[in-house]
Symmetry: C3
Subunit: 328 residues, 3 copies
């Protein structure tokens, strides 16, 4: 009796959620959190003073990056997001208020933890819709091609992060040694998982109803996000599974096992992200060090190995030595 009632209530709830409209409130939350994430990028404020246009374009990439990326992947106009005047106008107004509001009102309010918690939670909700939208769009073009559905769903949900290298380029920042594929951030991971789940559901490999999966996934993302914001911890809930999978699959031949472990550790230790605005200083620190030791292996060896010009060699050698000095 009880669980029947519960089931009914859950069913209603999931149906209610599935019929929820993202516009305008949830979209707004997404724009606010994204633009604040941009503003918290080092150097972003200076850019906003030097060139408002570059800053605006950058924040549009933060807000609509997913649509742009999936547009490129599906050969659909990348300007399409601009054609939805209402959203662009809304995002632009929020961008303006976040960066140039007199007394910096909006930012200082939205930065208060409780409000920020709510906004981030609402942003996580939009993720479900974006991923699902991407998956269904891909399905309409490529009948039951699971990989394409996952790819597009992922691109739609985590686009901003995946194209971050080029978003940074707009602001005059270029960091080739790091990208979301080399070291996935938590939002990128959770989005990938979501894309896989929804793709499986759409192709009926996953015996679940869409609105149920939407409810489960949304609740999980929101709860997990809030947990991370409150505890300030950046350890993804998948760390154990990941390292288990990693140990079983990707530690094939021995010579690199040692290196592997330590590097992997460095990578598991930190799961912070380019567009997670809430990582407190502490986390930022750890992630900083983590990525240092983590990337060092990649970039240095890569640079040392690949560059044939003495110039570059010199550079990378300096890098190493100074790196050592620094760490001493």
């Amino acid at each position: 009796m009880m669980d029947v009632l519960e089931a009914l209530r859950l069913d209603e709830l999931s149906h209610g959620l599935a019929n929820l409209s993202m516009f305008p409130y949830f979209d707004m939350a997404h724009y606010i959190v994204s633009t604040m994430a941009l503003r918290e990028q080092p150097g972003a404020l200076e850019v906003s003073r030097v060139s408002p246009l570059a800053c605006w374009f950058s924040s549009m990439l933060f807000c609509f990056g997913g649509a742009v990326l999936s547009g490129i992947m599906l050969a659909e106009p990348t300007v399409a997001p601009l054609s939805n005047s209402t959203s662009v106008l809304l995002a632009s107004v929020i961008w303006y208020l976040v960066f140039y509001c007199p007394m910096d009102l909006l930012y200082s309010c939205a930065a208060l933890l409780p409000l920020r918690l709510v906004l981030s939670g609402m942003k996580e909700v939009t993720r479900t819709w974006k991923v699902l939208g991407g998956v269904t769009q891909a399905q309409s073009k490529y009948k039951d091609s699971l990989l394409v559905m996952i790819a597009i769903g992922w691109a739609r949900g985590a686009g901003g992060g995946l194209i971050s290298n080029f978003e940074q380029l707009v602001r005059g920042v270029w960091k080739p040694e790091s990208n979301e594929l080399l070291k996935m951030s938590y939002p990128t991971k959770i989005t990938l998982i979501g894309a896989v789940l929804f793709a499986l559901q759409q192709t009926h490999y996953l015996p679940l109803q869409k609105h149920h999966l939407m409810l489960v996934y949304t609740v999980f993302t929101v709860v997990n996000k809030s947990r991370m914001m409150l505890t300030g911890s950046s350890t993804s809930p998948f760390a154990p599974i990941e390292s288990a999978l990693y140990k079983t699959l990707f530690t094939g031949h021995s010579p690199y096992a040692a290196l592997t472990e330590e590097v992997k550790q460095a990578c598991i230790d930190n799961g912070t992200t380019t567009n997670k605005p809430t990582a407190p200083a502490a986390t930022k620190e750890s992630s900083g060090n983590g990525s240092t030791s983590g990337q060092q292996h990649v970039t240095d060896s890569a640079v040392r190995g690949r560059n044939s010009s003495p110039k570059a060699k010199e550079a990378s050698e300096n890098a190493v030595t100074t790196g050592c000095k620094k760490t001493d």
Copy 2:
């Protein structure tokens, strides 16, 4: 009586202009000026010796960059420009003559101020057609979406400049710290304004007839360009309006006001461009310094802030110190 006659004459004139065909003479002027602009890029001549192919591809990007960029934005084939054999052939012949002509005849002739004045003027005329073409093309795809029309018109007219980072990459040059959005050059600005005007005209927000607007815009660009070439000054005519707009809109919260002013100054001081071949040494200098002090804020702070690897830190610190030494 007089002004009726004048009106009639103006009307005739504007109609005549509107029916003017860009091919072949104006297109040729555009190709010559663009290729000369490429040739005047530091390092371009060396590239033309090391790899004629890279040099040819680069100059095609200078000549047809707008079409390529708008192609990407509208998901239309980026090879489309190649399909117009006549234009490509014409541009290639000019490219060959500019770079490899025996005795360097073509370049030394075209570089003479009077001839260069004429050619640059004709190139400015093509700008009107390109912007209008982009706007109408966008309109045919996205009914009255003002933003898209502006974006495509701008891309068509100033494509070469907007993709300069990647055009440079073809020649083995990579300057992430600068791009046309961070510091707009005069041609990019004037093209953006043109795109806005034509988009407003096409959507009937601007109570003007197309051929009249074409006349006005063309005359303005040609006259202004000639003025800048003759006086050798690179101050854009919009500087006052810009700084006024800037002061009212983008100087929101105080902490950065100071920084803002000085930086902005640096940016207003210079309006030179990657594809304006006529900036005399003097201007180049000033622009050089300008961008130095202008970008410094952006890149350094950005780099210092963003990079987590000691290598990069070291680098940027050096940069600062050497920067100081240099400026002392």
Copy 3:
């Protein structure tokens, strides 16, 4: 009598070749050789430990780069290759075995010269099919536009190399000073020649039957590739023709003639490639030096000339001095 028989036999042979199916064996060879080429990139193994995903994506770009690039050029979905599940699955399995196989079995076997010879030969065969596929695809879109047909055929056949800058970016490596246009590798050259030949054949400028051209081109590539692997020499068979063409066409005005020669020499001396896995240490050396002296001219002068920030200036000056120190 004899030559009639021979003609018949050749005709049969060419028909047999033309009807040969690339899937699965030749495709497999292509995937194995490409993935091994990736694995032999300095730093690639570290990446495979740090981020299997980035490594997988990188190797997919090595295997399907041509399809991706031609997709961008023709405004067709860049995810299309993913929709062919069988190929992607096959390529992924091979990627896994090459990088993570217990005891490193696959790699150590495939690296044995005789086996590698066979695999590389089979990979060369796939080139013919890819180029021809690109040319015909372009022809179906752009009736007899020779340039487009060549461009797409080239992109399809040598895509992996042409996008190498961005493939490297996935792995956190960024080498703007070098790209396939600045210094073409042997595979890129041979593919370009093939694209030209097949484009001419398709437009009937070349009085040859398709299957005959396929036979001739395939035999040439396979034989030449094997020769280079066995002799370990990387001198392309076109070196003399190239330098002749170069001398006649691209040594226009004198001041650079001197520079030209020495630079060109450096470029002719080496024809190694990003995706040619078999260049022995010796060749790598020579190519290293070659590119050093060759690129130096380009990058340094370029950098010194173009950068306006003292930081960059300092850097390039250091580069030069150290460069001199090194060579002393």
